[in-house]
Subunit: 197 residues, 2 copies
């Protein structure tokens, strides 16, 4: 019985992750979750006490899934240039070959939550801060190891890479054309190479 309950909870979460990431917190309703899971409202509330708890858990799942994929690409790089290129390519892979529907959860939830949902907004801020810190630290150690130009501002470089790649996701999603990311990714790779010492 415990095992079946756990499986049901995971199934609800997987369906909710697709739904909330595609339709947004306000655009996805509990009726949508019921339809996608084939469960009654009570069956869902057995596992998640309300829409908020489910939506926040769904956000965490999509973010941690995508982060793990991007991190894999970063970690495959040896030099700081390779790691930064890995970040860009990891993001691109996550969009072209997604685990969950709906595009980047950071982009989606940042835009939706900023004026409407403080708990979700706090989660998005913390997740984006984590990405920015990781990028900044790659740039800092690249400068320290003499791989990257000493005049770089690591925080600014981190913000620039993140902002540009999220804008690229926006174009690819809106036009349903992953090649729309390509131009931005290529420009970012040139930028990253120009950061090398």
């Amino acid at each position: 019985m415990v095992k079946k309950g756990q499986l049901t909870k995971e199934m609800i979460l997987l369906k909710a992750a697709d739904l909330f990431n595609s339709r947004g917190y306000f655009g996805a309703s509990m009726s949508d979750v019921m339809a996608a899971t084939g469960l009654e409202k009570g069956g869902i509330y057995n596992h998640f006490k309300n829409k908020d708890e489910l939506a926040l858990a769904a956000f965490d799942l999509v973010v941690s899934t995508n982060s793990a994929r991007v991190k894999e690409h970063i970690d495959a790089g040896h030099t700081s240039v390779e790691k930064l290129v890995g970040f860009v390519e990891g993001f691109q892979t996550a969009v072209i070959n997604p685990v969950f529907a709906g595009g980047c959860p950071l982009l989606n939830c940042a835009v939706e939550s900023d004026d409407t949902h403080p708990a979700l907004k706090a989660k998005v801020k913390s997740a984006i801060a984590g990405v920015l810190r990781a990028l900044q630290s790659i740039v800092e150690s690249g400068v320290a190891r003499g791989e990257l130009r000493p005049d770089l501002e690591p925080q600014a470089v981190a913000q620039f890479l993140f902002a540009s790649i999220e804008g690229a996701v926006l174009l690819a999603k809106l036009y349903e054309d992953p090649s729309k990311m390509e131009a931005v990714v290529n420009q970012l790779k040139l930028f990253i190479k120009s950061c090398a010492k």
Copy 2:
């Protein structure tokens, strides 16, 4: 009487522009519009036949207002480098000193509509295509006039500038800190200068 009706319609539209641009199409309800305008539902439906018509008109208003401001900055430039810098600075001004609450309507509505609202999505695609065409044409004439490097890909440069500036808006809005745009804007200015011949 006609004049009063027109004023009421404009007032509804102005309030709806703030509301829909901040809270999103699904996040803003007709009750929110009623509360913001002090009108009954019937008073609103007198002027807009449904939520969709109002939301789409609100989108058009915010986009045309922001576009006019960005265009002013572009037109103030004489060379193609100055015009591209004008684009970036115009966007920054529109975010730092906004006419309507809620940030960039292209970013907001692209993210919200892509999986949910075909009519809004069509409007966003057409508006963004217009921005990309304008940028591409600045780059093309810059190359033709020998101001910009002949190896530039005008379409790719346009997509890169647009994607990066929208990502910068995302950071500034989420952290409620316009200075978060600064780093991206500065990097883009360096990039634009690097495009000069």
